[in-house]
Protein backbone atom coordinates (compact mmCIF):
# COMPACT_ATOMS: atom_id res chain seq x y z
CA UNK A 1 0.00 0.00 0.00
CA UNK A 2 2.72 2.45 0.97
CA UNK A 3 4.65 1.49 -2.16
CA UNK A 4 1.64 2.34 -4.30
CA UNK A 5 1.28 5.73 -2.64
CA UNK A 6 4.97 6.32 -3.18
CA UNK A 7 4.65 5.57 -6.89
CA UNK A 8 1.63 7.85 -7.19
CA UNK A 9 3.42 10.63 -5.32
CA UNK A 10 6.50 10.25 -7.47
CA UNK A 11 4.71 10.40 -10.83
CA UNK A 12 1.87 12.83 -10.03
CA UNK A 13 3.88 15.93 -11.12
CA UNK A 14 4.71 14.27 -14.44
CA UNK A 15 1.04 13.46 -15.00
CA UNK A 16 -0.11 16.95 -14.04
CA UNK A 17 2.40 18.39 -16.53
CA UNK A 18 0.34 16.80 -19.28
CA UNK A 19 -2.91 18.26 -17.97
CA UNK A 20 -2.69 21.51 -20.01
CA UNK A 21 -2.59 19.43 -23.21
CA UNK A 22 -5.96 17.88 -22.43
CA UNK A 23 -7.52 21.18 -21.39
CA UNK A 24 -6.08 23.00 -24.40
CA UNK A 25 -7.49 20.40 -26.80
CA UNK A 26 -10.83 20.44 -25.00
CA UNK A 27 -11.30 24.19 -24.91
CA UNK A 28 -10.08 24.96 -28.43
CA UNK A 29 -12.11 22.17 -30.03
CA UNK A 30 -15.26 23.07 -28.11
CA UNK A 31 -15.00 26.71 -29.20
CA UNK A 32 -14.39 25.84 -32.86
CA UNK A 33 -17.09 23.18 -32.74
CA UNK A 34 -19.65 25.58 -31.29
CA UNK A 35 -18.89 28.00 -34.11
CA UNK A 36 -19.10 25.34 -36.85
CA UNK A 37 -22.06 23.61 -35.25
CA UNK A 38 -24.04 26.82 -35.30
CA UNK A 39 -23.67 27.07 -39.07
CA UNK A 40 -24.36 23.35 -39.55
CA UNK A 41 -27.54 23.63 -37.50
CA UNK A 42 -28.51 26.70 -39.48
CA UNK A 43 -28.02 24.78 -42.73
CA UNK A 44 -30.03 21.83 -41.45
CA UNK A 45 -32.93 23.94 -40.19
CA UNK A 46 -33.01 26.15 -43.27
CA UNK A 47 -34.90 25.57 -46.51
CA UNK A 48 -32.04 25.32 -48.99
CA UNK A 49 -32.03 21.62 -50.04
CA UNK A 50 -28.36 21.53 -51.07
CA UNK A 51 -26.91 22.83 -47.80
CA UNK A 52 -29.48 20.80 -45.88
CA UNK A 53 -28.45 17.57 -47.59
CA UNK A 54 -24.74 18.30 -47.24
CA UNK A 55 -25.01 19.10 -43.54
CA UNK A 56 -27.17 16.01 -42.95
CA UNK A 57 -24.59 13.78 -44.64
CA UNK A 58 -21.75 15.41 -42.71
CA UNK A 59 -23.56 15.01 -39.38
CA UNK A 60 -24.45 11.40 -40.11
CA UNK A 61 -20.87 10.56 -41.09
CA UNK A 62 -19.38 12.20 -38.03
CA UNK A 63 -21.87 10.50 -35.74
CA UNK A 64 -21.53 7.15 -37.47
CA UNK A 65 -17.80 6.58 -37.50
CA UNK A 66 -15.57 6.04 -34.48
CA UNK A 67 -13.40 8.93 -33.38
CA UNK A 68 -10.24 6.92 -33.92
CA UNK A 69 -11.02 6.38 -37.61
CA UNK A 70 -11.69 10.08 -38.07
CA UNK A 71 -8.49 10.99 -36.26
CA UNK A 72 -6.37 8.66 -38.38
CA UNK A 73 -8.17 9.69 -41.57
CA UNK A 74 -7.48 13.38 -40.95
CA UNK A 75 -3.93 12.64 -39.83
CA UNK A 76 -3.28 10.90 -43.16
CA UNK A 77 -5.47 12.94 -45.47
CA UNK A 78 -4.58 16.56 -44.66
CA UNK A 79 -0.84 16.11 -45.37
CA UNK A 80 -1.67 14.40 -48.69
CA UNK A 81 -3.91 17.29 -49.76
CA UNK A 82 -1.46 19.93 -48.54
CA UNK A 83 1.56 18.33 -50.20
CA UNK A 84 -0.33 18.07 -53.49
CA UNK A 85 -0.92 21.82 -53.32
CA UNK A 86 2.68 22.59 -52.50
CA UNK A 87 2.36 23.22 -48.76
CA UNK A 88 4.91 21.45 -46.64
CA UNK A 89 3.41 19.85 -43.53
CA UNK A 90 6.54 18.23 -42.19
CA UNK A 91 7.00 20.84 -39.46
CA UNK A 92 3.41 20.76 -38.25
CA UNK A 93 2.54 19.73 -34.75
CA UNK A 94 0.31 16.61 -34.58
CA UNK A 95 -1.85 18.63 -32.21
CA UNK A 96 -3.26 20.45 -35.26
CA UNK A 97 -4.71 17.25 -36.69
CA UNK A 98 -6.17 16.31 -33.31
CA UNK A 99 -7.79 19.73 -33.01
CA UNK A 100 -9.24 19.55 -36.53
CA UNK A 101 -10.60 16.08 -35.99
CA UNK A 102 -12.10 16.74 -32.58
CA UNK A 103 -13.68 20.00 -33.62
CA UNK A 104 -15.21 18.50 -36.78
CA UNK A 105 -16.55 15.58 -34.74
CA UNK A 106 -17.95 17.80 -32.02
CA UNK A 107 -19.44 20.22 -34.56
CA UNK A 108 -21.76 17.48 -35.79
CA UNK A 109 -22.97 16.63 -32.29
CA UNK A 110 -23.30 20.32 -31.36
CA UNK A 111 -25.33 20.94 -34.50
CA UNK A 112 -27.77 18.23 -33.44
CA UNK A 113 -28.01 19.77 -29.95
CA UNK A 114 -28.58 23.27 -31.33
CA UNK A 115 -31.23 21.95 -33.69
CA UNK A 116 -33.08 20.13 -30.92
CA UNK A 117 -32.93 23.28 -28.76
CA UNK A 118 -34.39 25.28 -31.65
CA UNK A 119 -37.16 22.73 -32.22
CA UNK A 120 -38.01 22.67 -28.51
CA UNK A 121 -38.64 26.41 -28.73
CA UNK A 122 -42.26 27.44 -29.14
CA UNK A 123 -42.65 28.57 -32.76
CA UNK A 124 -45.28 31.14 -31.79
CA UNK A 125 -42.64 33.14 -29.95
CA UNK A 126 -40.67 33.62 -33.16
CA UNK A 127 -43.84 34.62 -34.97
CA UNK A 128 -44.62 37.08 -32.19
CA UNK A 129 -41.13 38.54 -32.45
CA UNK A 130 -41.54 38.91 -36.21
CA UNK A 131 -44.92 40.58 -35.77
CA UNK A 132 -43.31 43.07 -33.42
CA UNK A 133 -41.02 44.06 -36.28
CA UNK A 134 -37.79 42.41 -35.11
CA UNK A 135 -35.30 41.48 -37.79
CA UNK A 136 -33.76 38.00 -37.97
CA UNK A 137 -30.65 39.01 -36.01
CA UNK A 138 -32.69 40.70 -33.33
CA UNK A 139 -35.06 37.71 -33.10
CA UNK A 140 -32.10 35.40 -32.67
CA UNK A 141 -30.40 37.52 -30.05
CA UNK A 142 -33.38 38.43 -27.92
CA UNK A 143 -35.76 35.46 -28.27
CA UNK A 144 -33.98 32.33 -29.54
CA UNK A 145 -30.59 32.63 -27.84
CA UNK A 146 -31.61 33.15 -24.18
CA UNK A 147 -34.04 30.24 -24.15
CA UNK A 148 -32.08 28.00 -26.50
CA UNK A 149 -28.88 28.42 -24.48
CA UNK A 150 -30.62 27.38 -21.27
CA UNK A 151 -31.98 24.20 -22.85
CA UNK A 152 -28.84 23.37 -24.86
CA UNK A 153 -26.18 23.95 -22.19
CA UNK A 154 -26.65 20.70 -20.18
CA UNK A 155 -26.40 18.65 -23.38
CA UNK A 156 -23.39 20.65 -24.54
CA UNK A 157 -21.70 19.91 -21.22
CA UNK A 158 -22.42 16.21 -21.60
CA UNK A 159 -20.85 16.19 -25.05
CA UNK A 160 -17.86 18.19 -23.81
CA UNK A 161 -17.31 15.65 -21.05
CA UNK A 162 -17.43 12.90 -23.69
CA UNK A 163 -14.81 14.82 -25.65
CA UNK A 164 -12.69 15.23 -22.52
CA UNK A 165 -12.67 11.48 -22.11
CA UNK A 166 -12.01 10.93 -25.80
CA UNK A 167 -8.98 13.25 -26.00
CA UNK A 168 -6.95 10.32 -24.70
CA UNK A 169 -7.42 8.67 -28.12
CA UNK A 170 -5.11 11.33 -29.58
CA UNK A 171 -2.21 9.24 -28.28
CA UNK A 172 -2.68 7.23 -31.51
CA UNK A 173 -1.27 10.09 -33.57
CA UNK A 174 1.36 11.13 -31.05
CA UNK A 175 -0.38 13.77 -28.95
CA UNK A 176 0.18 12.61 -25.41
CA UNK A 177 -2.30 13.80 -22.82
CA UNK A 178 -2.51 12.46 -19.24
CA UNK A 179 -3.31 8.89 -20.23
CA UNK A 180 -0.67 8.94 -22.97
CA UNK A 181 1.85 10.22 -20.44
CA UNK A 182 0.88 7.46 -18.01
CA UNK A 183 1.30 4.93 -20.81
CA UNK A 184 4.78 6.31 -21.55
CA UNK A 185 5.73 6.08 -17.87
CA UNK A 186 4.46 2.51 -17.74
CA UNK A 187 6.53 1.59 -20.79
CA UNK A 188 9.59 3.31 -19.30
CA UNK A 189 9.27 1.38 -16.03
CA UNK A 190 8.63 -1.96 -17.70
CA UNK A 191 5.13 -2.09 -16.22
CA UNK A 192 5.93 -1.35 -12.60
CA UNK A 193 3.05 0.44 -10.88
CA UNK A 194 0.82 0.51 -13.94
CA UNK A 195 -2.43 -0.11 -12.08
CA UNK A 196 -1.74 2.75 -9.68
CA UNK A 197 -0.95 5.13 -12.55
CA UNK A 198 -4.13 4.20 -14.41
CA UNK A 199 -6.26 4.69 -11.30
CA UNK A 200 -4.62 8.07 -10.64
CA UNK A 201 -5.33 9.16 -14.20
CA UNK A 202 -8.93 8.02 -13.80
CA UNK A 203 -9.33 10.07 -10.63
CA UNK A 204 -7.81 13.14 -12.32
CA UNK A 205 -10.28 12.77 -15.20
CA UNK A 206 -13.15 12.33 -12.74
CA UNK A 207 -12.27 15.48 -10.79
CA UNK A 208 -11.90 17.48 -14.01
CA UNK A 209 -15.31 16.28 -15.15
CA UNK A 210 -16.92 17.17 -11.83
CA UNK A 211 -15.48 20.68 -11.96
CA UNK A 212 -16.76 21.22 -15.51
CA UNK A 213 -20.16 19.84 -14.50
CA UNK A 214 -20.32 22.16 -11.48
CA UNK A 215 -19.49 25.23 -13.58
CA UNK A 216 -22.03 24.31 -16.22
CA UNK A 217 -24.76 23.68 -13.66
CA UNK A 218 -24.10 27.07 -12.04
CA UNK A 219 -24.37 28.78 -15.44
CA UNK A 220 -27.52 26.81 -16.27
CA UNK A 221 -29.05 27.86 -12.98
CA UNK A 222 -28.30 31.49 -13.79
CA UNK A 223 -29.77 31.14 -17.30
CA UNK A 224 -32.94 29.52 -15.95
CA UNK A 225 -33.48 32.30 -13.43
CA UNK A 226 -36.69 33.42 -15.07
CA UNK A 227 -37.99 29.87 -15.52
CA UNK A 228 -39.08 28.43 -12.16
CA UNK A 229 -39.99 25.04 -13.67
CA UNK A 230 -36.34 24.28 -14.50
CA UNK A 231 -34.83 25.13 -11.10
CA UNK A 232 -32.89 22.37 -9.37
CA UNK A 233 -30.61 22.38 -6.35
CA UNK A 234 -28.42 19.47 -7.47
CA UNK A 235 -25.14 20.96 -8.61
CA UNK A 236 -23.33 17.73 -9.51
CA UNK A 237 -26.26 16.07 -11.25
CA UNK A 238 -26.09 15.18 -14.93
CA UNK A 239 -29.22 16.36 -16.70
CA UNK A 240 -30.80 14.37 -19.51
Amino acid sequence: MSESLEIIWKYLPALLQALPTTLYMLVISVVIAAFLGFFLAWAKIGRNPVTKGLSSIFISFMRGTPMMVQLLLIFIWIPVICNDNGISTSAWDPMIYALVSFSLNMAAFFAEIFRSAYIALDYRQIEAAQSLGMGPVQTFRRVILPQGAASALPNLTNMSLELMKNTSIAAVIGVYDILGKAQQLVKNNYGVGQMELYITVGVIFWIMGLVILLLSNLVTKRLNKGNPAMQTGKLFAVKD
Binding site: V80, K165, N166, G202, M208, D240
Partner: protein, 256 residues
Protein backbone atom coordinates in the same frame (compact mmCIF):
# COMPACT_ATOMS: atom_id res chain seq x y z
CA UNK B 1 -9.37 0.03 -57.27
CA UNK B 2 -7.93 -3.34 -56.38
CA UNK B 3 -6.65 -2.05 -53.07
CA UNK B 4 -10.17 -1.02 -52.10
CA UNK B 5 -11.60 -4.51 -52.64
CA UNK B 6 -8.82 -6.30 -50.78
CA UNK B 7 -9.00 -3.78 -47.96
CA UNK B 8 -12.76 -4.17 -47.87
CA UNK B 9 -12.35 -7.93 -47.50
CA UNK B 10 -9.88 -7.43 -44.66
CA UNK B 11 -12.18 -5.01 -42.86
CA UNK B 12 -15.23 -7.23 -43.35
CA UNK B 13 -13.39 -10.15 -41.80
CA UNK B 14 -13.37 -8.13 -38.57
CA UNK B 15 -17.11 -7.45 -38.59
CA UNK B 16 -18.14 -10.59 -36.63
CA UNK B 17 -15.68 -9.70 -33.85
CA UNK B 18 -16.96 -6.13 -33.66
CA UNK B 19 -20.60 -7.20 -33.57
CA UNK B 20 -20.12 -9.94 -31.00
CA UNK B 21 -17.99 -7.63 -28.85
CA UNK B 22 -20.73 -5.00 -28.99
CA UNK B 23 -23.53 -7.46 -28.33
CA UNK B 24 -21.91 -9.17 -25.35
CA UNK B 25 -20.82 -5.90 -23.78
CA UNK B 26 -24.30 -4.42 -24.24
CA UNK B 27 -25.86 -7.42 -22.50
CA UNK B 28 -23.32 -7.28 -19.68
CA UNK B 29 -23.68 -3.50 -19.36
CA UNK B 30 -27.44 -3.88 -19.12
CA UNK B 31 -27.10 -6.45 -16.32
CA UNK B 32 -24.60 -4.25 -14.45
CA UNK B 33 -26.79 -1.20 -15.04
CA UNK B 34 -29.80 -2.98 -13.54
CA UNK B 35 -27.73 -3.92 -10.49
CA UNK B 36 -26.48 -0.33 -10.15
CA UNK B 37 -30.00 1.05 -10.55
CA UNK B 38 -31.16 -1.05 -7.58
CA UNK B 39 -28.54 0.79 -5.54
CA UNK B 40 -29.31 4.22 -6.96
CA UNK B 41 -33.07 3.83 -6.41
CA UNK B 42 -32.62 2.44 -2.88
CA UNK B 43 -34.55 4.00 0.00
CA UNK B 44 -31.50 4.10 2.31
CA UNK B 45 -29.65 7.37 1.88
CA UNK B 46 -26.07 6.07 2.42
CA UNK B 47 -26.57 3.28 -0.11
CA UNK B 48 -28.01 5.73 -2.63
CA UNK B 49 -25.15 8.20 -2.18
CA UNK B 50 -22.56 5.42 -2.43
CA UNK B 51 -23.95 4.06 -5.69
CA UNK B 52 -24.43 7.55 -7.16
CA UNK B 53 -20.76 8.31 -6.49
CA UNK B 54 -19.76 5.00 -8.10
CA UNK B 55 -21.87 5.82 -11.15
CA UNK B 56 -20.34 9.26 -11.44
CA UNK B 57 -16.82 7.84 -11.08
CA UNK B 58 -17.35 5.17 -13.74
CA UNK B 59 -18.83 7.79 -16.03
CA UNK B 60 -15.90 10.16 -15.63
CA UNK B 61 -13.21 7.71 -16.76
CA UNK B 62 -12.15 7.27 -20.39
CA UNK B 63 -12.85 3.87 -21.92
CA UNK B 64 -9.18 3.52 -22.79
CA UNK B 65 -8.27 3.45 -19.09
CA UNK B 66 -10.70 0.58 -18.52
CA UNK B 67 -9.26 -1.28 -21.48
CA UNK B 68 -5.63 -0.76 -20.43
CA UNK B 69 -6.30 -1.52 -16.76
CA UNK B 70 -8.19 -4.72 -17.52
CA UNK B 71 -5.59 -5.72 -20.07
CA UNK B 72 -2.78 -5.36 -17.55
CA UNK B 73 -4.77 -7.12 -14.83
CA UNK B 74 -5.40 -10.22 -16.94
CA UNK B 75 -2.38 -12.16 -15.75
CA UNK B 76 -2.87 -11.50 -12.06
CA UNK B 77 -6.61 -12.19 -12.17
CA UNK B 78 -6.42 -15.31 -14.31
CA UNK B 79 -3.34 -16.62 -12.53
CA UNK B 80 -4.97 -16.00 -9.17
CA UNK B 81 -8.14 -17.83 -10.17
CA UNK B 82 -6.04 -20.65 -11.59
CA UNK B 83 -4.13 -21.07 -8.34
CA UNK B 84 -7.20 -20.66 -6.17
CA UNK B 85 -9.20 -23.44 -7.83
CA UNK B 86 -6.17 -25.53 -8.70
CA UNK B 87 -6.80 -25.86 -12.46
CA UNK B 88 -3.25 -24.96 -13.52
CA UNK B 89 -4.43 -24.68 -17.12
CA UNK B 90 -3.95 -20.96 -17.72
CA UNK B 91 -1.54 -20.38 -20.57
CA UNK B 92 0.24 -17.07 -20.16
CA UNK B 93 0.99 -16.93 -23.87
CA UNK B 94 -2.70 -16.87 -24.81
CA UNK B 95 -4.40 -14.38 -22.50
CA UNK B 96 -8.19 -14.09 -22.89
CA UNK B 97 -8.06 -10.47 -24.08
CA UNK B 98 -11.48 -10.67 -25.71
CA UNK B 99 -13.36 -11.43 -22.47
CA UNK B 100 -11.55 -8.68 -20.61
CA UNK B 101 -12.29 -6.16 -23.35
CA UNK B 102 -15.97 -7.12 -23.08
CA UNK B 103 -15.81 -6.51 -19.32
CA UNK B 104 -14.05 -3.15 -19.79
CA UNK B 105 -16.58 -1.90 -22.35
CA UNK B 106 -19.48 -3.16 -20.24
CA UNK B 107 -18.17 -1.49 -17.09
CA UNK B 108 -17.73 1.84 -18.85
CA UNK B 109 -21.26 1.73 -20.25
CA UNK B 110 -22.98 0.39 -17.11
CA UNK B 111 -23.59 3.88 -15.57
CA UNK B 112 -25.21 5.06 -18.80
CA UNK B 113 -27.53 2.05 -18.71
CA UNK B 114 -28.24 2.77 -15.05
CA UNK B 115 -29.14 6.37 -15.91
CA UNK B 116 -31.39 5.16 -18.70
CA UNK B 117 -33.26 2.81 -16.34
CA UNK B 118 -33.64 5.32 -13.52
CA UNK B 119 -34.85 8.09 -15.84
CA UNK B 120 -37.38 5.67 -17.37
CA UNK B 121 -38.56 4.76 -13.86
CA UNK B 122 -39.01 8.42 -12.97
CA UNK B 123 -41.22 9.11 -15.98
CA UNK B 124 -43.91 6.76 -14.72
CA UNK B 125 -46.44 8.78 -12.72
CA UNK B 126 -46.65 8.19 -9.01
CA UNK B 127 -50.37 7.50 -9.27
CA UNK B 128 -49.66 4.18 -10.99
CA UNK B 129 -47.48 2.93 -8.14
CA UNK B 130 -50.16 3.93 -5.66
CA UNK B 131 -52.89 2.33 -7.79
CA UNK B 132 -50.90 -0.93 -7.80
CA UNK B 133 -50.65 -0.81 -4.02
CA UNK B 134 -54.35 -0.03 -3.76
CA UNK B 135 -55.20 -2.99 -6.00
CA UNK B 136 -53.22 -5.27 -3.69
CA UNK B 137 -50.42 -6.21 -6.09
CA UNK B 138 -47.29 -7.74 -4.63
CA UNK B 139 -43.95 -6.08 -5.37
CA UNK B 140 -43.05 -8.52 -8.15
CA UNK B 141 -46.50 -8.28 -9.77
CA UNK B 142 -46.34 -4.49 -9.66
CA UNK B 143 -42.98 -4.40 -11.42
CA UNK B 144 -43.59 -7.14 -13.97
CA UNK B 145 -47.10 -6.18 -15.02
CA UNK B 146 -47.26 -2.40 -14.77
CA UNK B 147 -43.90 -0.69 -14.40
CA UNK B 148 -41.40 -2.65 -16.49
CA UNK B 149 -43.52 -2.93 -19.69
CA UNK B 150 -43.85 0.84 -19.74
CA UNK B 151 -40.20 1.41 -18.83
CA UNK B 152 -38.98 -0.69 -21.74
CA UNK B 153 -40.95 1.36 -24.25
CA UNK B 154 -39.62 4.60 -22.81
CA UNK B 155 -36.02 3.38 -22.63
CA UNK B 156 -35.74 2.00 -26.18
CA UNK B 157 -34.62 5.23 -27.96
CA UNK B 158 -31.97 5.80 -25.30
CA UNK B 159 -30.88 2.19 -25.50
CA UNK B 160 -30.45 2.48 -29.27
CA UNK B 161 -28.21 5.49 -28.74
CA UNK B 162 -26.05 3.66 -26.24
CA UNK B 163 -25.86 0.58 -28.43
CA UNK B 164 -24.59 2.62 -31.37
CA UNK B 165 -22.12 4.48 -29.15
CA UNK B 166 -20.84 1.18 -27.85
CA UNK B 167 -20.44 -0.06 -31.42
CA UNK B 168 -18.20 2.92 -32.08
CA UNK B 169 -16.37 2.56 -28.78
CA UNK B 170 -15.58 -1.07 -29.55
CA UNK B 171 -13.14 0.25 -32.17
CA UNK B 172 -10.90 1.29 -29.26
CA UNK B 173 -10.31 -2.32 -28.33
CA UNK B 174 -7.79 -2.54 -31.17
CA UNK B 175 -5.46 -0.76 -28.73
CA UNK B 176 -5.39 -3.94 -26.64
CA UNK B 177 -4.56 -6.25 -29.55
CA UNK B 178 -8.07 -7.38 -30.49
CA UNK B 179 -8.48 -7.77 -34.22
CA UNK B 180 -11.85 -6.23 -34.97
CA UNK B 181 -12.64 -3.94 -37.92
CA UNK B 182 -10.34 -1.13 -36.85
CA UNK B 183 -7.56 -3.53 -35.89
CA UNK B 184 -7.74 -5.32 -39.22
CA UNK B 185 -7.72 -2.00 -41.07
CA UNK B 186 -4.68 -0.73 -39.15
CA UNK B 187 -2.90 -3.99 -39.61
CA UNK B 188 -3.49 -4.10 -43.34
CA UNK B 189 -2.62 -0.41 -43.67
CA UNK B 190 0.78 -0.87 -42.10
CA UNK B 191 1.32 -4.02 -44.16
CA UNK B 192 0.44 -2.54 -47.56
CA UNK B 193 1.46 1.08 -46.79
CA UNK B 194 -1.87 2.29 -48.21
CA UNK B 195 -3.07 4.16 -45.13
CA UNK B 196 -5.58 6.53 -46.71
CA UNK B 197 -7.49 3.88 -48.68
CA UNK B 198 -7.70 1.52 -45.73
CA UNK B 199 -9.03 4.12 -43.33
CA UNK B 200 -11.56 5.40 -45.89
CA UNK B 201 -12.88 1.88 -46.42
CA UNK B 202 -13.00 1.28 -42.67
CA UNK B 203 -14.88 4.54 -42.06
CA UNK B 204 -17.40 3.75 -44.80
CA UNK B 205 -18.13 0.28 -43.39
CA UNK B 206 -18.53 1.69 -39.89
CA UNK B 207 -20.89 4.30 -41.29
CA UNK B 208 -22.91 1.63 -43.10
CA UNK B 209 -23.29 -0.50 -39.95
CA UNK B 210 -24.18 2.59 -37.94
CA UNK B 211 -26.92 3.58 -40.39
CA UNK B 212 -28.33 0.04 -40.45
CA UNK B 213 -28.56 -0.12 -36.66
CA UNK B 214 -29.88 3.43 -36.39
CA UNK B 215 -32.70 2.70 -38.84
CA UNK B 216 -33.46 -0.64 -37.16
CA UNK B 217 -33.79 1.07 -33.80
CA UNK B 218 -35.96 3.77 -35.37
CA UNK B 219 -38.32 1.07 -36.69
CA UNK B 220 -38.42 -0.68 -33.31
CA UNK B 221 -39.03 2.64 -31.59
CA UNK B 222 -41.95 3.41 -33.89
CA UNK B 223 -43.39 -0.08 -33.49
CA UNK B 224 -43.20 -0.16 -29.70
CA UNK B 225 -43.99 3.50 -29.17
CA UNK B 226 -47.29 3.63 -31.04
CA UNK B 227 -49.26 3.33 -27.81
CA UNK B 228 -47.53 6.48 -26.55
CA UNK B 229 -48.96 8.63 -29.34
CA UNK B 230 -52.65 9.26 -28.77
CA UNK B 231 -53.65 10.31 -32.30
CA UNK B 232 -52.57 7.16 -34.15
CA UNK B 233 -55.14 4.32 -34.32
CA UNK B 234 -53.94 0.91 -33.24
CA UNK B 235 -54.40 -1.61 -36.03
CA UNK B 236 -56.24 -4.86 -35.41
CA UNK B 237 -56.34 -4.56 -31.70
CA UNK B 238 -57.96 -7.63 -30.24
CA UNK B 239 -60.86 -6.68 -28.09
CA UNK B 240 -62.81 -9.05 -25.99
CA UNK B 241 -66.11 -7.56 -26.93
CA UNK B 242 -68.35 -10.37 -25.73
CA UNK B 243 -66.43 -11.00 -22.57
CA UNK B 244 -68.59 -8.88 -20.31
CA UNK B 245 -71.81 -9.78 -22.06
CA UNK B 246 -71.26 -13.50 -21.47
CA UNK B 247 -70.44 -12.95 -17.84
CA UNK B 248 -73.54 -10.85 -17.40
CA UNK B 249 -75.65 -13.51 -19.07
CA UNK B 250 -74.21 -16.13 -16.72
CA UNK B 251 -75.08 -14.04 -13.71
CA UNK B 252 -78.60 -13.46 -15.04
CA UNK B 253 -79.13 -17.17 -15.57
CA UNK B 254 -77.88 -17.90 -12.08
CA UNK B 255 -80.34 -15.37 -10.73
CA UNK B 256 -83.18 -17.04 -12.50
Amino acid sequence: MEIYTTCSQKVLSGVPTTLSLTLWSVVLALVLGILLSFGVLSRLVPVRVFFSVICSFLKGIPILIFLYAFHTAIDSIMGGLDNMFGFYTYDIRKPPTYIFAVFALALSYAPYMCDMITSAMHTIPKGQWEACDAAGFTGWQKMSRIIIPQCIVIAIPNFGNHFVNLLKASSLSCMVTIMEMMGEARNYATMSQKFLECYIVCALWYWFIFVVFEQAFRVIEKRTGRYLQPGIPVLKRKRRRFHMAEQQRGILEEAK
